[in-house]
């Protein structure tokens, strides 16, 4: 398990400075300021439609924000979000015609970690069904595959949108274990969730979003 979660020795910091995000003409939130660093778990809470997903996408660099700045630093040096972030949206981005093994191997190759595929599959308990096409997976199995894809990026910052949705107790347990392991080795986890789980017991920041 140790080789799946590399120890992150360098100091990593995300500085969110006065960020405002709008969707269409509607301003979702403004002047959000926060600093996130190693070992942090950030949970974004708020009602539906308040902009949780938009905030996660803005941090992931996939959404342009209207004002403010998000900076990424490794040992005080500026770097691009692409080097740090693994983002799992609320819906799966599997190609339905590929098998689990093909899908995971593809992303492993993209992130240059193809040697880890077998270990990750064993870890998330999909090793027995690696030849199943992803369109035939159950919700829980698909979530496991998503977790596997995040692990295989070997990036220090993990961003999840609603990771617990549709998971049974075992699944929630698995996600908590994975996130805890990552955080304890110096990683950063940012997630939007409605569910209250054990992950809150470790060093956690909560960003509560309220309507303007």
């Amino acid at each position: 398990m140790k080789n799946l979660f590399p120890l992150i020795k360098k100091e990593i910091r995300i500085e969110i400075n006065g960020v405002s995000v709008s969707r269409g003409n509607q301003l979702l939130f403004k002047n959000l300021t926060s600093t996130i660093t190693n070992h942090d778990v950030v949970i974004v809470r708020g009602d539906n439609g308040i902009g949780k997903t938009s905030l996660l996408e803005a941090i992931s660099g996939l959404l342009t924000y209207s004002s403010g700045k998000i900076k990424f630093l490794i040992s005080e040096k500026r770097t691009s979000f692409k080097n740090l972030i693994a983002y799992q949206p609320s819906s799966s981005y599997c190609k339905t015609l590929l098998t689990i093994n093909e899908e995971l191997t593809f992303w492993a190759n993209i992130h240059n970690n193809s040697s880890l595929v077998d270990d990750v599959l064993k870890f998330v308990n999909l090793h027995g069904v690696f030849n199943l096409k992803t369109q035939n997976l159950s919700t829980g199995q698909r979530k496991r595959l998503e977790i596997a894809k995040v692990i295989i990026t070997q990036k220090p910052i993990w961003i999840f949108d609603e990771p617990y949705a549709g998971m049974d107790d075992n699944g929630v347990e698995l996600i908590d274990t994975v996130l805890k392991e990552h955080v304890s080795r110096g990683g950063i986890v940012i997630l939007a969730s409605h569910k209250h789980t054990k992950i809150e017991k470790i060093q956690t920041k909560i960003i509560n979003m309220k309507a303007n």
Binding site: L62, N83, P89, K95, L97, L98, F106, W107, N109, H111
Partner: protein
């Protein structure tokens, strides 16, 4: 990494069946219906067959343009590739190669069969294959370009036809002209050279333009 992307696209296309066969079936239907409506006699069809084949190829590739980026945009794969550090240009190059293999290659391979059915002489079959192969980069890259622009637009197929037709008309004109002036001695007439030029321009200008369009759509 480009190779991984190409391989994955081709595996998906070969399993989905429908989208590849779409173009091929349209191509054969177009030729069949055109022959029926033109009377079906070989003295009428013979002078028209190169034009029919070219038109059928252009229309059936146009049909498949929309699939190039739209699905990857919708399901979030483009964003993930971006987070994986793959540049927009590399994505466009990979998509161009996989598109020519999965959508244009089957069409070109079926041309000799259709040409024999239309009673075309062997020399003409050779030239039409050559012109089509030379035009493939142009046919591909303009499709990639329009699809990159229209990735975000729901139901963008009309838009794609609108953008690509002005680019495809020169290819069609010079492709057919070079067939007309092809002699038994050499097929390298000036029209064919223009066609080669058009395809090279498509690569040189179309690929960076597609990359730029894709980049703005990914943000």
């Amino acid at each position: 990494m480009i190779l991984n992307l190409i391989k994955r696209d081709i595996v998906i296309a070969s399993r989905s069946g429908g989208s590849v066969l779409n173009g091929l079936i349209f191509f054969c239907l177009f030729i069949a219906l055109a022959s029926i409506s033109l009377g079906g006699t070989s003295d009428v069809l013979k002078p028209l067959s190169p034009a029919l084949i070219w038109l059928a190829i252009v229309f059936s590739t146009m049909l498949s343009y929309q699939n190039i980026f739209q699905e990857d945009y919708k399901d979030g794969n483009l964003s993930q590739l971006r987070l994986g550090g793959i540049s927009a240009l590399n994505i466009c190059i990979a998509k161009s190669i996989s598109f020519s293999i999965q959508s244009i290659l089957p069409l070109i391979l079926s041309v000799p069969i259709v040409a024999i059915l239309l009673n075309m002489p062997l020399s003409e079959i050779k030239t039409i294959m050559a012109t089509l192969i030379i035009a493939t980069p142009g046919l591909t890259v303009y499709g990639v370009f329009s699809s990159a622009i229209a990735a975000k637009i729901p139901g963008g197929s009309f838009f794609i036809v609108l953008i690509t037709s002005p680019f495809l008309i020169p290819l069609l004109i010079f492709g057919l002209e070079s067939m007309n002036s092809a002699s038994d001695v050499s097929i390298f007439n000036s029209e064919l050279r223009v066609l080669i030029g058009l395809s090279l321009i498509a690569i040189a200008i179309g690929l960076p333009a597609s990359a730029a369009a894709l980049k703005t759509n990914m943000e």
